[in-house]
Each structure stands twice: as structure tokens, then as C-alpha cells.
Symmetry: C2
Subunit: 328 residues, 2 copies
Amino acid sequence: MSGPWVVGVDIGGTNLVVGLLPLEGGAPLGLRSRATVPERGADAAVADIARMVGDSINEVVGLHGGSREDVLGVGIGCPGPLDLEGGIVIATPNLGWTDYPIRDRISKALGLPATLDNDANCATYGEWWQGAGQGAETLVGVTLGTGIGGGLILDGRIARGASGSAGEIGHTTIDLNGRRCACGNYGCLEAYASGPNIAARAREGIEAGYESVLSELVENNLESITAATVYEALVLGDEYAHEVMLETAKILGVGIANIVNTLNPEVVVVVGGVTRAGDHLFGPLRAEVRRRAFRSAVEACEIVPGDLPETAGVIGAAGIFIAEGLEG
Amino acid sequence: MSGPWVVGVDIGGTNLVVGLLPLEGGAPLGLRSRATVPERGADAAVADIARMVGDSINEVVGLHGGSREDVLGVGIGCPGPLDLEGGIVIATPNLGWTDYPIRDRISKALGLPATLDNDANCATYGEWWQGAGQGAETLVGVTLGTGIGGGLILDGRIARGASGSAGEIGHTTIDLNGRRCACGNYGCLEAYASGPNIAARAREGIEAGYESVLSELVENNLESITAATVYEALVLGDEYAHEVMLETAKILGVGIANIVNTLNPEVVVVVGGVTRAGDHLFGPLRAEVRRRAFRSAVEACEIVPGDLPETAGVIGAAGIFIAEGLEG
């Protein structure tokens, strides 16, 4: 079990997570997680990451033997848009950082070679390498969180497209005159089914007069409704929360049907907190895909929740370094 | 210029086209085209194709020397859904044939090995091999006709997906509560922007009271409006026809923006009669893509009309045989 290892770093809008992966795969070792606090700035996050990775390496080396020299590099996952070649965060709405050379800063802070990819590609790669999509030739990952992202595995490799931005499934249009999205467009999948937009839709319904235990759960402070509160209400048997989840599922079904008709994948892995809703989400979601996509494509495709809810990002970030960063 | 050659067969809802392609590419030789008349049945179409190919080979051999033995095989393009492995037309709404082993029947009739692929993949491959998309690593073809189809070239190869149905762009949803589509769904791209649906939208507007030279062009028999009549009216400066084309362009822009955000291609080639509208179509179409897709993806992507309006299907069908059928 003593090295070599690769560090995985998962920079999320909420948490920073780091861990060490053996080259041959397996559970991440020496996992560390802490709040991101993006408003402290990118330099502070890099310092946090360096400290966490240092602790993680010490722990792993202490437990398994080997030395710091057995750590070969670091794979980083970060919300985009990114300049992948330059290793730069161009602009990340959920972090507020712009034109920040995150890859080289982390590389320098750790004294290790580094790769950078977007968080959705990392989560997708993680689920494909060690999670719910193992062995698929064609796999699409859909990440549900503050935003909605996606990653594509085609012919056993991440497909990044001509400028590294393939997989932006959250910003495909499902209703051309629909809800305004944070990206400026109308009717994007994300405008309905991201965490904040699930919460917003729930709030709007209550403001329009729907009765729901949600009002109690947030002590009538409707602004504090989140996707998690909606899930909580659902578990309590709340009919309105059930309705909100049903609409979420249908809308995600429309977006995923588009993917299924476009790419005809073997597996669509859906990851993120909302997947805790289980069959409340996946039942109507799969039904909507069946209604909208071609039968042969539907029959060829499994739509499943991720297997690695906490660690897909770290595993995938390290996996991408192992697949692509060791070559250089 | 004497062989070897490969036959390309393009089975369309309107025309059958055949021709011979040199292995190294170039313009198709001995081109033959005739009306499909699908209601005479698939066997009659196979007999027509065999006759046309025979004539074509005689002409080419007569002009260029060589012999029938220099014809190595036949690539067939046909509207789907198809069972590609079995070489079978499962069900083709635009032809009315079901469960017909088209590949083996043509192979037997010609005494040549054959490959079958769907018409949109063939047109896409043709444009990529010899047309508007030469050299692109990632290219998407969008075929506008009686239906809307699509083909994907990823990493220099046709991507067919898990069950051979990748690229069904016409049946991606752009308006989840929108127009009913022939496929049974609501709000598919095809429900707005296929030839018959462009005509239907034009007709509906006139029925609702819009003034247009279209009424004159069809002598008030609105049922005989086609996409071609709309184009004719546009050329005559008709404002309403211009509006219909503008809406068509915007809707295609939404569908293509989804492709651009999902696949981040270098080139999107749009083929079919509607592309005759030129900048009337491509101007607002590109503007809508710019509005909806991520900037880096838009900047990396050319959206262009096909270069091979009559022959992309034949060239691509033969090209796919050359790329994949010669191996076996």
C-alpha cells in the first residue's frame, strides 16, 4: 500500500476536499475537507489546499510507509469556465475568482506537477473509473449542485471538445422562452434544476399560495429555503415538496433525453445532493427520458445515481492526472 | 483514374442517388438519380438501385477503363431508425418500410460487400471527408429535410453511440411544452424546423391572418405551401416569409447552441435545401448560438452550410465503406 500516490484536489463552491490515490485506484487516503470561503480569495484557498495536502501526505506516509517522494503529482478539479491549457480559472461565478493561474499556483505551493480540469469532468471521470459507470465506453456525467455541469466519456476518454468546454449540459436550453438563467439565457436546464433554482421554484409556489410544511421548516423565512429543505419536506411526506421534486425530475428528464438522443450513451451518472431523493427523483426522471428519447437509445442506457457522493471529484481529479499528467 | 472504386448509395425520402468513388476520394463518377417512390416497396427500390449501379459502373468503366472487378463494395445511406449491425431498416416513417434487411438485399443484388449507415451520418461523413468540414477533429452535421437528423464526428471517427442512434438532434427538446412532433413528443427541434414544419408554421400564420405573397404563389391552396415556397416568397421580398425564416433560424440556433454547449465542436455543418436561404438563415442562426452558448465554445466553432448539396450522402456512404467496410 506504500505509494506511489497522486493527490486529488476538489475545489467546490462549498468545500475543498483533498486526498491521495494509489495509481491503480482504490479509496482515497488521508482525506481532508474544509469550507472553501471563496471570498477570502484564491491565494488563501491555495494556501489552505497546500496545508491540507501536507497533512494528508504526512498521515498517509505515517500509516503506510514510503515518503513524500512517492507522491507523483496533483490533479485539480475546479468549477469553470477554465482555460485548461493555461491552467487558469477564467471566471467562476460560484467562487468569484477571475483569471487566476490555479494550476501553477498549486503546483508551485506543493512542488509537484499538476493537471487542471473542471469539477464536472473530474466527478464524471471518478464515477467512470471507480464508481457507477465502470467499463462504459460512452458515459455522460451530470453534476447537480449550485450549478449543473456535465462530463463526457467517449471511447474511454474524457471528451473536452475544441476549446475544453464540452459537457456544459446545464446550459442547454429545454424551454426557449423559459426561466432566466444566471448565465444570461432563458430556459437553461440549470435555471430549473440546480439547487438554488429548485429552492427558488419551491419558494415561488409558496408565495403563490401553495401550502407546505416548508414554511414551518424555515419559520416562514422563505428566503432560507434550500434544495435540502425541499428534500427534508419531501421526507416528511409534504405533498407540495413532492410536486417540486416531480417537476425537477421531469425537467432533468428532458435535459437527459436530449443527451440520450444526441450521444446514445451506455450510462448517464447523475451526481450531487439532489440524488438523495432516490426514486422520488429517478422514477419520474427515467419516465420522462423514456417518453422523449428514441426507444433503442433508452434501452441501451442506464440512468443511475453516482456511487461516490463525497469523493468522485477527488478520485477523478487524481485519475485524470494519472491518465494524462504522468505522460508529460 | 481507373479503379478501384466503391459505390455510394443514398436512399432519400425523395430521391435515390448512386455514384462511384475512388478510394482516395474525389467527385463521384457515373452519378445516377431517380425518384424514390417509396410506396412501391423496398424490393422495388433495391431493384432500381441495382439497375442504377449497373449503369453507373458501365459508364465509369467505359470512360476510365478497368472492369467490374475494380468495384470493391457498396456503402449505403438510408433514413433510420436502422439496426446497423443487422443492416436492417427497422422503421422509416419517411419511407414506410419496416424490418427490411436493406444492406444484405443490396449486397446480394450487386454481388458486393456492403455497409449500411443512416443518411445523416453519411451526409456528415461526406462533408467531413470532402466538404465543408475537412480536417475537423470534432464535427457535428445537421441535416435539414423532411426530418432533421445529425451525425457526430468525434476524434476523427463517426460516433454512433451504444446502439447506433447517436446524433438524433432533430428530436432534442427545445421547448418542453412546445409543438407536437411526428415522433410523439412535444417541442422537438424537428417539430419547428424540418421542411414540412417550416411550411406548417407558414400556413398557420396565414390562416391566422398574416398577409403574404405565399397565398398567391400557391393560388390560395395553403396546403401546397412547402419550405421551398417559403424560400421563393423570401426571394420575392415577402416580409412574412422573412419572419418565418427568422423564426426557423432562431429555433435552429437554439438546437445548435445545445450541441455547441454539449460537444464544443470545431465545425457544425448544416445541410439541406433550407440552407439555400444563405445569410437569411445563417445570420440569425449564428446570432442565436452566440446568445445562448458559452463564448469560448462559440469562438471555437464555425457554423457553415455544406459544400456538397447533391452528393454529400453518396460520398459519405462510400467513404464509410472505405473506412470501415474494407477492414472486414
